[in-house]
Amino acid sequence: MRYPRNIERSIKKPYLENIEVSADAEMDERILCDALAAMEESKKVSPALAGPNIRRTIMKSPIIKLAAAALIITAVLLGAKFVGGPDVANVAWGDVIRQTAQVDYVHCYYFKNRGNDFIKHFEAWYDQDKLVLRGVKASMTYDDGQTQQTFDEQGRRTVKKPSFFAGGLTFFEVFSGGLLSDKNEQLNQQTPTDVGNDFLIYQFDPSTDESDFIESIFITVGKNSLLPVQVKVYHKDGDYDLIIFDYEAPEKPPEFFEPPMAASANGQSEVVLDGEKVVIDIEGSPGLKQAIVRLHNKSYDSDDVPTFSLEVVFIVEEGFRSMVYPPNFIRVKLNEAMQCGVGPPTGDSFDDWPDGKYRNIRFSPLVKSTDREDTYIVEIRCWLRPKDD
């Protein structure tokens, strides 16, 4: 046997990858039941559930000093003359949040500055409770307030699940990780740190759970509109995230709001719950011949949505079988789809098929109900992802 030259790689693959861990639904229920009970007990003891502690930032870091200086210089160049004053200086953050609740249309860019790279992470349009998000590699996400669906650059649906806004969350709550929420009274009382002719600038310390990697957060708000126009999140390592909002001239993309029809599945079959494995013939996906699926361990999530363990093994054109992915099962919810990937049964990489050919199988399974209680339709959308993708 060959000595593993790269020990770290060997630990990751095959050692860690080959540790198969199959958790069953009963174990999940046991643990979650006890954890939820513990949470309820703790809530009784401490009913006042506090929000993040926001305090005024003491600017110690030279990076932050530079960043703040840069922000002020930029504001001056834009013609924002900081004047200060008792009236505008007292516009509380809660007023801004209340104003965002009135918004029907938002256009947003999200950029990441990483070293010398300035990366567009996504662009999103939100209009009348509907959202379109254009992400990396031309992926598109459509959210109609009930369901979100993501399609890859080839128009293949890779994700289908409940809306971002399920549970009554607003656009701003979702895209600020809760910072732009009216539920934190302490945050709501914060007043601007700088006041100009056109802008108010609010500066927040990161919450305690973010303070390890985030230095500070600046939010620029239009003085008349009281709507956020820019969020800048400075990281401790010098990188930053930039989110830009606008609310006028709704130049929505042609895709708004016309989600493509999800292409037909490459294969589907009725599968009996806790029954035998079923072989599904794959069509329209070059290189893939069959998928062998088994459905078991039905349980219910907190929203009473049926959830299953799905086993999938692919057989490629040349007859080789993939590994079972992920170790023995995928937890899938009824009528929800997600993207998964699978490679050869053994080995370190997607090249380790018996014939040495690269095969990276991507697939998106979907379980649908039938009129029989113990029988479901399993749809498989699948494709081989090219090596240089």
Partner: protein, 181 residues
């Protein structure tokens, strides 16, 4: 990360669905960490259970430093260390108190290690001191930076790097010895 922030925000307001989502999101990764660190793998469910119950008790004022996955992985590693110690103590009790030896692959979570190399790596990993094995698993499986691990352990990043390096060197020498035999 955005989702985690939102989940923690909701969890701290007593949202059970957020707790459930956190569990479902990280369960498999954490089971793997536990399986890689426990001397007796039948204890993985106990470790995961204890960590989540303890985590749930922190509702309302839970404060996270760094990533949620990293935090939970550290909790798993700490519990696994305690469990290993407890198991070690049980194994050294008098013969009169000795119970039946439990299978390594029994229990609600079924675990198996495939392939010759991964088996050898498994044996070699089991021979490492816990503090070295722990750093290797947290770094390679949980993808935690040395700085993050160091902060959670209250030691310097250089100490963590050294433990990692010593661990890898020892693995190499164990594997080398086995392969030469």
């Amino acid at each position: 990360m955005l989702e985690d922030k939102l989940l923690i925000y909701k969890f701290n307001r007593g949202d059970g669905d957020a707790l459930r989502r956190i569990y479902e999101k990280y369960r498999n990764d954490l089971l793997k960490v536990a399986a890689a660190l426990l001397n007796d793998r039948s204890g993985v469910e106990d470790v995961l259970h204890d960590v989540f119950v303890s985590f749930a008790q922190g509702v309302g004022d839970f404060q996270l430093r760094g990533s949620l996955k990293g935090y939970l992985s550290i909790c798993i590693a700490n519990r696994a260390r305690d469990k290993n110690r407890a198991t070690q103590r049980q194994r050294t009790v008098g013969l009169g108190n000795a119970g039946p030896i439990r299978s390594d692959i029994s229990g609600p979570a079924h675990l198996a290690v495939r392939s010759e190399l991964s088996e050898q790596l498994g044996h070699a990993m089991a021979q490492l001191p816990y503090e070295q094995r722990e750093i290797i698993i947290l770094h390679l499986q949980s993808k935690m930076r040395f700085r993050q691990i160091a902060k959670s352990k209250g030691v310097s990043a250089n100490t963590i790097r050294s433990r990692y390096r010593y661990g890898l060197n020892k693995l190499r020498s164990i594997l080398d010895g086995e392969l030469k035999r």
